[in-house]
Structure formats: C-alpha cells, structure tokens
C-alpha cells in the first residue's frame, strides 16, 4: 500500500489497528473494569474523528483508483464517527444493566465503523463489497449479542441470512458489470460506458443486482422484510447504531455507485428507483401505523426514511441536478441520523429488563414523569415527521427541492402524502406521552441522557440555523471520474 492510499484511508486504518490492539488489551482487563474498553474505544473514535477533520478540504485519489478521500466521504465519515461515539455512550449503561457487558461489544463496533468509513470512500465495486462485509459481519454478531435470548439470536440469524443473500446479489452484480465492461473500478467503467464499448444488457442487469444488494442494506421495499424483526430482536443499543450507521453507509455506496459509476445509464435506473422509492415510502409509513411496539415502529419508520432518501437517486439522474441532489442527500442523512439516534436514546432510557417497556403504551404519562425527556422525544418525532423548526424539516425541504428540480412532481406528491401518513404514528407516541395517564419508569444514566440532550439540541439548532452545516454539505462534493 502506497503513501497516498494510506493517508486517504487513515481514519479507517486507525480504527482497525486500534480495534486489533483492543482485542489484546481486553484480555487483560478484569471483568469488573470492563468500562475501560469502552473508554478506549471512544478514544480510538475520537482519534479517527480528529484525523478526519484535519484532512477535509483536499481530494485524494489513490493511484489504483480504489479509494478516494473527497468532501462527500469526509462529511459522511464525520457523521459515522459521531454516531459511533453516541453508540458507545448509549451502550455503556445499557449492556451492563441487561447483563451482556463484554469488551468485544465495543471492539466489534470499531470494526463495523471502519467498514462504514471505507464504504463511503470506495470507488471500486470490489472495494465496496469488502467494506460491506467488514461493516456487516460485526453487526451480525452484535445483533446476537444478547444470546441466549431467543429474540436476539433470531435477529442475528435473520440478519445474517438475508445479509448473505444481499451480498450474493451484490457480488453477482459485480460479476455482471465486469462481464459487460471488463472492469470493476469506477473510472474504467465510466470510460468504457461513455465510449459505448460495453455490453449494456449485462451492465444493466449488474446494476440492477447491485441495487438489490444495497436495497437490502438500506431496507428498501421490497427488500425490507428483515428490518422489523432484526431491529426488534437486537439489543436496543445495537439497533440504534445499526438503524443509522448501516443505513447511511448503504446510501453512501448507493449514491456513489449510481451517480459516479453509472451516470450514463441514468435514464434506465432512474425510473426503477423512483418506483422503489414510492413503494418504500408508502409501505414503510402505512405498516408503521399498525405497530404497537416502539422498536418495530421505529423500524418501519426507518424503512420509510429509506424511501425519502431513495427519491434523491432519480433526481440525481436528471441533468444538472446531481450535485445539489447529492448535497441534499447527505444533509438529509445527517438529519435522519441525529433525530433517529436521539429517539433510540429515549427508547433505551425507557426499556426495562427482558424487553419490557417497549410497547407504545409504556410511554403513557412520560410527560408528567419526566417532562424534559418527553419534550426531547417530541422534538425527535417532529423532526422525523418533518415539522419545522427541526432539522428533519430542512432535510426534507432539500430533498423535495432536488426532486422538483428534476421535474418529478408525481414523486414529490407521493413523498408528501407519505409524510402526512407518518405524522399519524409519530404523533401517537406524543399523544401517549403527553395526554394519557401513566407512570413509566425511566433509567437515569448520565451518558445516555447526554446523548439525548446532544441530539435534541442538534435537531433544533440544525433546524433553525442550518446555514453552516448546509454549506459544508454543499462543499462536500463527490469525486467524479
């Protein structure tokens, strides 16, 4: 590996090396001091975050064209690392009180984070595949971390089986593209496609399979079946991180593949993804209405959000919109991440032993018990609905802007209708918290509460003063071959 590639991958490498070191250190950490591993893991993430922040600005392309460090990757990497920190803070007390505290938890978290970081900067289909596996395999293990609890084991197995299925699709897609163009690197694929020397049929089938593979990862309808069960069964702290990290990473790759590698086929895949996006928004939101378990509800909500994000792709396919669509997309990913992490933080706060405290009715009366927590949850839910002045609104605003920019009025209308439906189930939780009597128990842990406050504040502040971060998202351009 040469110096340029090394420096481009530095944040991810830091995490991997640190995780390996921790694997050994953890052996010598006594059981009762297990918290040390968590603290060390957080230090590793902070280190990677520091490097990430210092590196931004330039655009580094590795000589073999496999990895880039562009503004797009940097923006998302900061987002991943931030989510990673939140994930550690949320897990810290939770895994101890549920009796699943083991040092490997944090180490696996570091590995999956490294996979996400690489995913955001891969410009080669095989690299994406590797990153996908690096991110997925630790997540399968984490989903089953609460073994021998059946739900957790089921969750891990389901996630693994469908994840393997998705990987299969993805790998087969790569093979097809390779068959059609003779290359797996974006730069070569684009040049072969624009020279019209490729076997278009094979490439199109390949692109479709890649779409299916990543569609599983981001939980787009009809590849979403695993989501509610996995989200429900996995330990909540894992779900919180997974619902943000894995989804954002899936989108990072999806956007890069379709905007950077296959822009010439935009007309063909744009329409397909638009239909997929509509189905995802509609079904995600409608199914969420019927849920009585908050974890399942948030699972369907995250499916619905995958739908909103997917709307970006057909928009980016139309000429002249790509750049603004990509910056809108990453801003939305940020908006989703912040509010979603916060909402899961509240879920973890209310969860009791043996997966109790997870029904919507367990939220009854939260307002009288802890008004600030109820207020924070309301902010998160309003943000997920897209009501101003929260970041969710600003995010949706720019997504719809891109969609209308691309003249996809019908898609925007479906998106709007879906948002309206979503208001119903998000508000149901608000109703329970504020308007029904009840005495929910809450778990007070400093770190956990800190994550709720940080995300609540970010949700509001980014909604009212989105300027500076929006400017960053706009500057965070994607490297194009």
């Amino acid at each position: 590996m040469d110096g340029i590639t090394l420096s481009a991958m530095l944040p991810a490498l830091i995490l991997i090396v640190w995780a390996c070191a921790l694997l050994i250190i953890d052996l010598f950490v006594p059981r009762k001091w297990e918290a040390i591993t968590a603290q060390l893991a957080a230090v590793g993430i902070l280190g990677a975050l520091l490097v990430c922040l210092l590196q931004t600005g330039g655009q580094i392309v590795s000589p073999d064209g496999m990895i880039v460090a562009d503004g797009y990757a940097a923006f998302l990497q900061v987002l991943f690392l931030f989510s990673g920190l939140i994930a550690i803070a949320q897990a810290y007390d939770y895994i101890r009180r549920t009796g699943i505290e083991r040092g490997e938890y944090y180490i696996l978290l570091l590995f999956t984070l490294a996979g996400m970081l690489i995913m955001a900067q891969s410009t080669n289909l095989v690299m994406i595949f590797l990153a996908l596996e690096v991110l997925s395999i630790p997540l399968y293990v984490l989903s089953g971390f609460a073994r021998p609890e059946l739900a957790s084991e089921e969750s891990a197995l389901k996630y693994f089986l469908l994840g393997a299925f998705a990987s299969g699709f993805f790998a087969f897609g790569i093979a097809m593209v390779y068959g059609g163009t003779g290359f797996v690197g974006f730069e070569e694929i684009v040049s072969v496609l624009s020279a019209q020397e490729a076997d278009l049929t094979l490439v199109l089938i390949g692109a479709g399979m890649i779409l299916v593979g990543l569609g599983f990862k981001v939980a787009a309808v009809p590849f979403h079946m695993w989501t509610p069960d996995v989200y429900e069964g996995a330990p909540s702290s894992v779900t919180s991180f997974m619902s943000v990290g894995a989804k954002v990473a899936g989108f990072a790759a999806l956007l890069r593949v379709f905007v950077a590698a296959f822009p010439d086929l935009a007309a063909s895949w744009g329409a397909v993804i638009a239909v997929l996006a509509s189905a995802t928004m509609i079904w995600g939101n409608i199914a969420a209405i019927a849920q009585n378990n908050i974890k399942r509800m948030l699972a369907y909500s995250s499916i619905a959000h995958a739908g909103y994000m997917l709307m970006i792709l057909p928009a980016a396919a139309s000429e002249g919109v790509a750049a603004s669509a990509v910056s809108g997309a990453i801003y939305y990913l940020l908006a989703y991440a912040v509010a979603n992490l916060g909402a899961w933080g509240v879920v973890i706060t209310l969860e009791k032993q043996e997966a109790k405290g997870l029904e919507l009715d367990d939220y009854n009366g939260l307002f009288s018990r802890s008004p600030w927590l109820a207020a924070a949850m309301t902010i998160f839910l309003l943000s997920l609905t897209g009501v101003p002045p929260t970041v969710g609104f600003t995010g949706k605003f720019f997504i719809f802007k891109a969609v209308l920019d691309a003249d996809l009025v019908w898609l925007a209308l479906i998106g709007v209708a879906a948002s309206l439906v979503s208001a119903f189930y998000y508000l149901r939780v608000v109703i329970n918290m504020f308007m029904k009597p009840g005495e929910p128990e809450i778990r007070r842990s400093v770190l956990l509460q800190a994550t709720v406050w940080v995300t609540a504040l970010a949700t509001l502040l980014l909604g009212i003063f989105p300027g500076s971060v929006l400017a960053l998202a706009e500057k965070a351009t994607m490297w194009l071959p």
Partner: protein, 500 residues
C-alpha cells in the same frame, strides 16, 4: 430600533416562555403572572410598533431583511415586514393573547407551566406568520404554530381531545405540505423566496398560476376553514380549552384568510380572478351551511364553532370580491370575528367553568341571577350577528357592498344569498341567547350561580370597548388598511384585463 421592532414583537413572548420554563414547578401563580405580563408587554410593544407605522404608505415598513440560509443559488432570508394587510392582524394577536391568558386564570390548574409556555410559543408562531415576508420563513412559522396548539387541545382539552388534536394536526398538515411543494416550485423557478420580489416580478404563466393557486389554497382553505374542508373545526373548537378556542377562532383561522390575502391574491392574480366565482360560491355555501348547522346545535360551544364557518365565509366572500371595499371589509371582518367570537368563547368558558356543561337545555333565566354576565353576553351576541352600531355590522356591510359591485364575482346572487346569512345569524344567535338567559330560572343547579367577578369582567371589557369602537367609528381602522388594499386592487385590475 426600527429595523428590529418586528423581531422584538415576534420573539418577545419567547423570553416569557423561557422564564416560565425555569420557574419552580409549584409556583403556578408566578407562571400565570409571568405569561400574562409578557403577553401584555408584547401588546405594548405592538402599540409602539403601530406608532412607527405610517398608514399612508402602502408598502412594507419596519423591514428586517437579512440573509439566513445560503444554498447554491438560493438565499433564504430572515425577512419581516409590516403593511396595511397585516398590521391589524398582528395587533389582534398581541391583543387577544393576554386576554386569553386572563380568561384561563382559574380554568387551567394542572401543568400550568407547560400551558403557559405553549401559549407564549403559539403567540410567537402566529405573529411570525403575519410578519414573515419570505416564503420559507413563513412556512416555518406556519407549521410551527401548529405544534403548541396541538398540545393545548390535546392536553387541556375535553373528553375527545386526543382525537380532536390529531385531526387538527393532520388536516392542517395535509394542506401545508401541498403548499410546501408550491413554495419550492416558486423558489426553483424564480430563485427567490421573497414575497415582495415575487409579487413585483409577477411573471408566472397563467396555467402554472392555476396549479400554484390551488396548492396554496389547499393549505389556507383548510385553515379558514372553507366548506367542505371544515370538519376538523367543530372537533378542535369543542375539545379545546377556552383559551385555546379563543386563539384558535380569534387568530389561527385568520392565518388562513390572511394567507389568501398575502399570497394567493397578489402572487397569482390572474388565477385569483379566474377562481373568484368559485371561491365566492364556496364562501356563500359556507355562510349558509355554517348558519344552518349552528341553528341545530345543542352545545353552545359547538354553535359558536359552526358560526365561525359562517362568519369566515363572509371574510372569504369579501376577499374574493377582489375590489377595494370587499377586501377592506374582509380584513376588518377578520378583526371583528376575532373580537366577537373570542368574546363568545370566553363567555361560554365562564359558564362551563361554573356548571361543567354547555348544553342549552341545562340553562335558562340566567339573566335574573347573573345580570352583569347577561349584559356583556348580550352585547357580544348582538355584535356577532351584525347589529348596526356594533363592529360586526361594519364589516359585513362593507363586504356585502363590495361583493355587490364586484366584477370578479360577476353576479349579485352572491350578495343576495350572503345577506340571507345575516338573517340566519340573527336567528341562531338570538335563539341561543334566549335559551341561556331568558325564560324561567327553573333549574336548581343554576339558582346558586354567582355573577362574574372583577377579573372576568376585566377579561371581557377590552373586547367590548373595541366592539363599540369599531362599530361606531371604524375610520381609523380603515385608514390603516386602505392604502395597502388599494395597491393590491390596482394589481388585480391589471390581472383582470389580462384574463379578459
């Protein structure tokens, strides 16, 4: 100072809300006083604002205009401005808020902190709606004002409050989202969200005007509410606590009519001319339907709620007469409705607080034991049905005059039918008054009722003063609005020529 006046008026209640939030949990009286004094101070500030307002100038005044969010070619601005179309509505908002807080002094006993905080936040949202001159900013205030009202209905409302709250939220949001798409479309095509700039450039093709008009109208017609989109209103009104109903009827419904006035008519004048007869027809249907349904109510609060549908029909008829008189009458009627219906809801609240029922059959002969209450109620009732000498008459008469001479409506039938609505209003309002106050005092529960106290009189008195003032000497109010309205009608005349 001038540049920050409107910001101060808009966000001053926020300061009050923050103070209420940090007060200790048990100091409910302190919370009430904080909220009341802050809203009163806001009213004071708005009077100061009025003193700076030059009523002979039809343009936006006291403008604050700063870049807020910059993205690619767009600059979203923090842009506030005041003109003849909005000045009275801002005053109405700041005037009604302290009154509403006063009216709820003893009625709200639980969770006073949250109530007062939400109430002050609501004031921020509503004032912002009337002052925002940037579409994005407007939308933020517009949607934001939904949230506190949702909680006011949902937490402190009647037995079916949760249903009413969510229905209110979903109905309003449905319209708003369509408006959001239209706002985006305008932003993309004109590269600006500034309302005055969009009105000045005014080169939107006619067929697109039609669609944008409808998208904006969806949001505003639900809020007004226009027939047939009114079904959230009776639920929300009946379930809402008194103070919530006062603000809901007094101010929030006007956000809808104001939206038509500020956005639909000036931004899409040709579409407005084209749709005028349709809007007029819906307005007249609303007037008659609202009146008929009011007449058949047993619950006083429901009666008042449905009467709003009827009264707001008048406002819409005035606005879509698209001439000076009609629009002036429409604006004044917005204020009148805010005063009269606000007062009516307070009156209903007073009796409900005493008897915990609002069924008309449970009352009768109240005049005998509650003469002060009866007198004030009579004045308000007469004002609401449009008795000459009181405010309602001035508004309705100007509207009928406007619609009679309106070219855009194109038929005197609108006026004739609407005038029928005035008669119906007299019938149902007097019927209600008779049921409550006249006749024999034959119910035992009513015999022990106490007349209203000094605080309650004080709550109603400012409203009554204005009811008489507008009724007897409306000139200063018309002076405030007429230059801006005349500028608007000039724009409409050009549009009418184009359409022809």
């Amino acid at each position: 100072m001038n540049a920050w006046m409107l910001t101060l008026v808009t966000f001053f209640p926020l300061l009050g809300a923050l103070i209420v939030l940090v007060l200790p949990e048990k100091r409910s009286t302190a919370m009430r006083w904080t909220a009341f004094l802050f809203s009163l101070a806001t009213f004071g500030l708005s009077l100061w604002m009025l003193s700076m307002f030059d009523s002979s100038n039809p343009d936006l005044q006291l403008v604050t205009r700063l870049p807020w969010i910059r993205i690619s070619t767009w600059t979203i601005e923090y842009h506030l401005g005041l003109d003849g179309l909005s000045v009275l509505l801002v005053l109405l908002t700041t005037f009604l808020t302290p009154i509403a807080i006063l009216s709820t002094w003893t009625a709200v006993q639980e969770r006073v902190k949250a109530f007062m905080a939400f109430f002050l936040l609501l004031e921020v949202g509503m004032t912002g709606v009337f002052l925002a001159q940037d579409l994005f900013l407007f939308y933020i205030f517009w949607e934001f004002s939904l949230v506190p009202m949702y909680f006011l209905i949902g937490i402190w409302g009647g037995p079916k409050r949760m249903y009413a709250a969510i229905k209110f939220f979903l109905y309003t949001m449905a319209g708003s989202l369509l408006m959001l798409l239209a706002i985006l479309w305008l932003g993309i095509s004109a590269d600006t969200f500034s309302v005055p700039d969009l009105v000045a450039s005014g080169n939107i093709p006619a067929d697109i005007q039609t669609w944008l008009f409808l998208a904006f109208a969806a949001a505003f017609a639900i809020k007004v509410p226009m027939f047939p989109l009114h079904s959230w209103l009776p639920d929300a009104h009946v379930q809402a606590p008194t103070a919530g109903s006062v603000i809901l009827a007094g101010v929030m419904l006007k956000m809808g009519t104001y939206g038509f006035l500020r956005f639909n008519i000036p931004l899409f004048p040709e579409a407005a001319v084209k749709f005028a007869p349709w809007m007029g027809a819906l307005a007249v249907i609303g007037i008659l339907y609202g009146a008929a349904v009011s007449f058949s109510q047993q619950d006083v609060k429901k009666l008042v709620a449905y009467s709003s549908v009827s009264h707001l029909g008048f406002v819409m008829l005035g606005l879509f007469a698209l001439n000076t008189q009609g629009i002036q009458g429409g604006i004044l009627q917005m204020i009148n409705h805010g005063l009269s219906t606000g007062a009516l809801f307070i009156i209903v609240g007073m009796i409900y607080e005493r008897r915990h029922t609002r069924e008309m059959d449970a009352f009768g002969g109240l005049w005998k034991i509650m003469p002060v209450y009866g007198t004030l109620a009579l004045i308000v009732t007469l004002s609401s049905m449009g008795l000459p000498g009181l405010n309602g008459f001035v508004g309705e008469f100007t509207i009928l005059l406007g619609s009679f001479g309106s070219e855009a409506l194109g038929s005197v039938w609108f006026t004739a039918l609407a005038a029928g609505g005035v008669i119906l209003a007299a019938i149902y309002m007097l019927f209600m008054f008779q049921k409550l106050f006249l006749g024999k005092l034959d119910k035992d529960e009513n015999k022990a009722l106490k007349d209203i106290n000094a605080r309650e009189v004080l709550t109603l008195l400012p409203l009554i003063v204005l009811i008489f003032w507008i009724g007897l000497y409306p000139k200063p109010f018309f002076n405030l609005i007429s230059p801006a309205v005349e500028q608007l009608t000039q724009l409409l005349q050009t549009a009418a020529m184009v359409v022809k």
